[in-house]
Every structure is written in C-alpha cells, then in structure tokens.
C-alpha cells in the first residue's frame, strides 16, 4: 500500500479566515465591490488636480530628481519626498468633501 493514500484531511482554512475579518476589511470589500472606492479615488484625484496639488507634488519630484540625478531616483524616494507635504497640503474643502462622501457610504451600507 502506498503511504500517499493516507493523507491528512485538507484543512478548511477559509471558514476561519472569514470570521477574522475586521470591520475595516468588510467595509473595504463593500467599497470595492460596489465600485464606490474607484469613484471616490477619481473624485479625490480630480479635486487635487484642480487645486494644483498634483502640480506641486510633481514640482517637488522634479526638484528632487534634478538633485539626485535622473537615473538614481526610485519610486520609494519620490513617495517619501511627497508624502509629508502631500498629506498636509490637501485643501480643507477637498478633505471635507471626501470625508462626507465616505460617511454617506458607511451610513447607506448600514454599517
């Protein structure tokens, strides 16, 4: 008799995993499945372009690239360059609009 026939039973890990989902993960899944996450991201992107935030960030990147040399920059570098200023310089109105939209979604999804 071959030893391979006596296999241990397949563990059903999926069941366990579902119960461990945090509220945040559940909401995230709902956001993505409904398409709302995509819409929110596009809305935020559009607002940020309108108010010049994107141009500011690109200028920071260019300045950094000039100093460090075109071929020496990494995506990581640039992320670190623009994250602090980026997070701080979003106009209040834009932030408020996004927060409002997200909160409406949470309410409408009965969470």
């Amino acid at each position: 008799m071959r030893g391979s026939i006596n296999r241990p039973p397949t563990p059903d890990a999926e069941d366990d995993r579902e119960q461990d989902l945090t509220l945040q993960e559940i909401i995230n899944i709902k956001l993505i499945e409904s398409g709302e996450k995509e819409r929110l991201k596009e809305l935020l992107r559009e607002r940020l372009i309108e108010c010049g935030w994107t141009d500011e960030m690109k200028a920071l990147c260019r300045a950094f690239t000039r100093k460090k040399g075109r071929n020496n920059v990494t995506v990581d570098d640039l992320v670190h360059v623009i994250t602090p200023k980026g997070r701080a310089s979003v106009p209040d109105s834009v932030k408020a609009e996004l927060l409002q939209r997200i909160r409406s979604f949470l309410v409408s999804a009965a969470l």
Binding site: K41, M57, C61, R62, R70, V75, L98
Partner: protein, 176 residues
C-alpha cells in the same frame, strides 16, 4: 439612544479618516510612480535645461552687475550673452538679390530702400503700360489706379521715375 449614535459617529469618523488616508496614499503613490517614470525615461525635456538656465542666468546677472563691462564706453568690445563681441557695423559682404551688387551687411537696409524703390519705380513704369491696356475701371489715367501713392505725399510724380523721399515713404507704406 444618543450614546450608540455617538459611538457610531466616532467610529464612522475614524473609519472615514482611515479610508480617506488610504485613498490619499494611493494617489500619492500614483503621482510618485508617474514622476519616476518620466524621470527614468527622460521625458522631462526641461530637467537639465532648467539647471543650465539657472546657472546661465546667474552668470548673466553677474556680468551685468560687473562695472568693467559698461556698454556705453566701449561699444565695440561689449560682450553678449554668448561671450561674443561684434563690431558695431556688420561687415559681411554678399550679393544683393535685386540688383546683383556686392553689399556690406551693415549697409544692406539703406541699400535696399533705394534699390527696391528704384526697381519698383521701374516696375511701375512697365506695369503702367500693361495695365493701360487692361484697365477697365479707368478713371482717366492709369496713375489714378495708384492714387494712394499720389495722395500720400504732395506732388508725387509716379510716372517720371524721379526719386523723392516722399515717394519712397508712400511706396514702402502701401506696397506689400
């Protein structure tokens, strides 16, 4: 009932902030990635130019501020932004395309004034005879077809071919 609502309010606020932060970070990564791509592919044509431009402009500013370069005193030796000096009258010699004479570049404009003025008058003489035959709207003489010329200065005699300063002004003004 207010207590659960408050909890929900705060947890909603917290969650909203979290998701907002995630969205923003995601967009930041997108922007960084795009800039990285532009940098690596050399798509930003002005990147090195700006550096060069800044350097040159500071250089130029230094030169302007430099008292040893006063332009009025020694105009022959003034240095331009490329570091070249030019004589006050351009000295290159070439052939005038109208009359075929050898003209010095610095003297070309006054030459053209006279050269083309005379040439034009000669041309006017020729066309006058041809339009005399063709002219259906004759108001007396072909000269009237050029009435702008005759009216522009007093006593203009288009037909005679004499050069008057007024004549040239009129010609230069209207013939184009």
């Amino acid at each position: 009932m207010s207590a659960p609502n408050d909890d929900k309010g705060t947890s909603h606020s917290q969650l909203s902030s979290q998701f907002y932060g995630d969205l923003l970070d995601s967009i930041i990564v997108d922007v960084a990635s795009e800039c990285h791509r532009i940098a690596r592919l050399g798509l930003d044509r002005n990147l090195e130019d700006e550096e060069e431009e800044l350097r040159l402009s500071t250089q130029a500013r230094a030169r302007v501020a430099d008292p040893s370069n006063s332009g009025e005193a020694n105009s022959k030796y003034v240095v331009d932004i490329f570091g070249q000096t030019h004589p006050s009258v351009a000295s290159e010699i070439f052939e005038c395309m109208n009359c075929g004479r050898s003209i010095m570049a610095g003297r070309f404009a006054p030459h053209l004034e006279k050269c083309m003025g005379r040439g034009r008058k000669a041309r006017l003489k020729n066309t006058r005879s041809s339009t005399a035959a063709q002219n259906r709207y004759t108001r007396g003489s072909p000269i009237s077809a050029y009435s702008p010329y005759s009216n522009s200065a007093s006593g203009n005699r288009v037909a005679n071919g004499t050069t008057a300063p007024n004549e040239e002004y009129g010609d230069g003004g209207f013939e184009d």
